[in-house]
């Protein structure tokens, strides 16, 4: 009898741990998409502060397309397209008109918040089942690890593949080298004959598409529903994650999971009713962002060695 009870208890504990870890993965995935996209943009020397706006536009577009077309893949694609479209506006202003990157990024966020609210006014309160899970045959049968790692929706798998691809692209391919060269010294890259503006345009569009994908994940898988301003600062946290990761893809992934963990653990703590007001717990992800930012930025040399040297600087081609 006693042994059976103990077995039951372990099983119950395992279930709780599994459920927590699974929610951490879903909370980390949108951060991972947005941060890895922004990292590539920044690696090319462009600082796009409009991540929050692009996430929201991606979220509302993805949700709307799924609502009207009933096709999840179309919705995901539309979310990416919306994010990339908004980043194209940014690129036109910053790369074409030489506008201030900081000001334009802020404009992108302000516009994105308003525009997504406008587009989504008829979608508030609409229900969606969420993206279907795609268990990997065989592997998903492994006890504990199977449900933890191999029973996710398509985007979770994609996010991991994306980290591998970005890491490979940046450090193992010629085009990745060009992108990094453009980000470190646009004048030298231009002198060698690389198309600085085109490289930056592509990197910015990729960042926008990934932010849009992060948004689509929020509205189609994480929540899944549309509410105004639903990203709740995730775009800014993603920007901080890039600094935290010192512009390295794998560290971006570690950071995203760390922040997913903080988000979920504070929610669980709220649910268990520990003595603190819920608002104190909700502050945790933001305070943690400040904390890690300070921790990493404290070492000026580390930032100087890892940050793309031309980040945020406008490029004036001299012909």
């Amino acid at each position: 009898m006693a042994i059976e009870y103990a077995d039951l208890n372990t099983e119950w504990l395992m279930d709780i741990v599994l459920a927590t870890l699974l929610t951490i993965i879903t909370a980390a995935t949108p951060l991972l998409f947005a941060a890895i996209g922004e990292m590539v943009t920044e690696k090319s020397g462009v600082l796009n502060l409009g991540v929050e706006g692009m996430i929201l536009l991606g979220a509302v577009t993805g949700f709307a397309v799924v609502h009207y077309s009933d096709s999840a893949s179309l919705g995901i694609f539309a979310g990416m397209l919306a994010g990339a479209g908004l980043s194209l506006v940014f690129a036109a202003l910053v790369l074409g008109f030489q506008a201030s990157q900081v000001a334009t990024g802020l404009a992108l966020t302000i516009f994105g918040i308003g525009f997504s609210a406008l587009l989504g006014q008829n979608l508030v309160g609409v229900a969606y089942d969420g993206l279907p899970k795609l268990p990997i045959p065989g592997l998903s049968q492994i006890p504990f690890l199977g449900p933890l790692l191999f029973q996710h929706d398509i985007l979770v798998y994609l996010s991991v593949v994306l980290v591998i691809l970005v890491s490979w692209f940046l450090y193992k391919t010629r085009y990745g080298l060009i992108l990094r060269a453009v980000g470190d010294s646009h004048d030298a890259a231009h002198a060698i004959g690389y198309p600085v503006i085109w490289v930056r345009l592509c990197a910015t569009l990729f960042g926008g598409a990934m932010a849009g994908l992060a948004g689509a994940y929020l509205s189609l898988a994480y929540s899944p529903l549309w509410i105004e301003n639903m990203s709740a600062g995730r775009g800014w946290i993603a920007l901080a994650l890039v600094v935290f990761a010192t512009w390295r893809p794998w560290r971006v992934m570690v950071g995203a999971y760390l922040f997913g963990g903080i988000t979920i653990l504070q929610l669980h703590a709220q649910a268990m009713g520990i003595g603190l007001p819920s608002q104190i717990m909700s502050m945790l992800p933001y305070l943690a962002t400040i904390f890690v930012l300070v921790l990493i930025s404290r070492d000026r040399n580390k930032i100087r060695l890892n940050a793309p040297a031309s980040i945020g600087k406008p490029f004036h081609p001299t012909t």
Binding site: G114, A232, W236, L239, I290
Partner: protein
Amino acid sequence: MVFGSPLVAFILTLVAGVVLFQIMGVNPFDALYAFFVEPLTSLYGWGELGVKATPLVLIAVALSIGFRAGVWNIGAEGQLTLGAICGGGVALLFYDVEGFWVLPLMIAAGIGGGMLWAAIPALLRTRFNANEILTSLMLTYVATLLLSMLVHGPWRDPDGFNFPESRIFSESATLPLILGGTRLHLGWIFALLAVAAGWLLMSRTIIGFQVKVVGEAPAAGRYAGFRVRRVIWFTLLLGGGAAGLAGLIEVSGPIGQLLPSISPGYGFTAIIVAFVGRLHPVGVLFAGLLLALSYLGGESAQISLNLPLAVTGVFQGLLLFFLLACDVLIHYEVRWRSNTLTSTRSG
């Protein structure tokens, strides 16, 4: 051309508005009338314009000084919230005390609260090299949650049927009105004084000069022995203090109590105001009135044409986009040469 580009940007925003309303199936001219003319057809409306412009002008004058130094304080919304919390806290503390000194004390607390909140990014930037854009913005979320916690918990009105609202401030804790038949309050005078003070600071004082040099030629600033840290501290505290004052004015003027949400994003819109006003105090005054009109217009269009309030944010974002694009006309001279567009840097 410096003041031409906001005008061009505004006209382009109106054109984009016509297209937007057409797509939404609303008669664009009715909509633009509701947005930009209808709010100003009464004295009350003009008073409201001042009420909405007060926080925008106050914050934007201070922010534009920071922006000129290259200090990107974009967490004014959080500093505004903390000003409201501290100033409102004083009002609740002296709830049953009558006295001429209550309001000045609230103002001091509001400014102090905003400065305190801005001191955090200043410290983290100067001591730990942490980016002030991200830290000041994160603190905005923290401040909003703090206010929500207070009005849901200890500061909730005991006779308020459990609504998350504080008590309504007493007479001595309320800003006096200055124009009969409207809600225009003393805060508008503060905003005008801030414009004058901002102009004096930037054109007549040594710290104003240092701000300009550090922003435009950091190397020259270092060479001249200007301390960059001091400029960072100064501009952030100035922005925080102004935003804190604006927050206090909101809760002690038009709102009259503490609520979970006390600002429709004034702290963020003030960033647009600063840019549209060309980072110049007088420009900021006009830009503040224009953006205040966009808030009023949003409300009026919501009532008369049933348009969603979010249109305001879209207009504000579009205005900033067009402005930034038009600025290319200031920095560059466009020349047509053998069918190819080339641009030369002129200044």
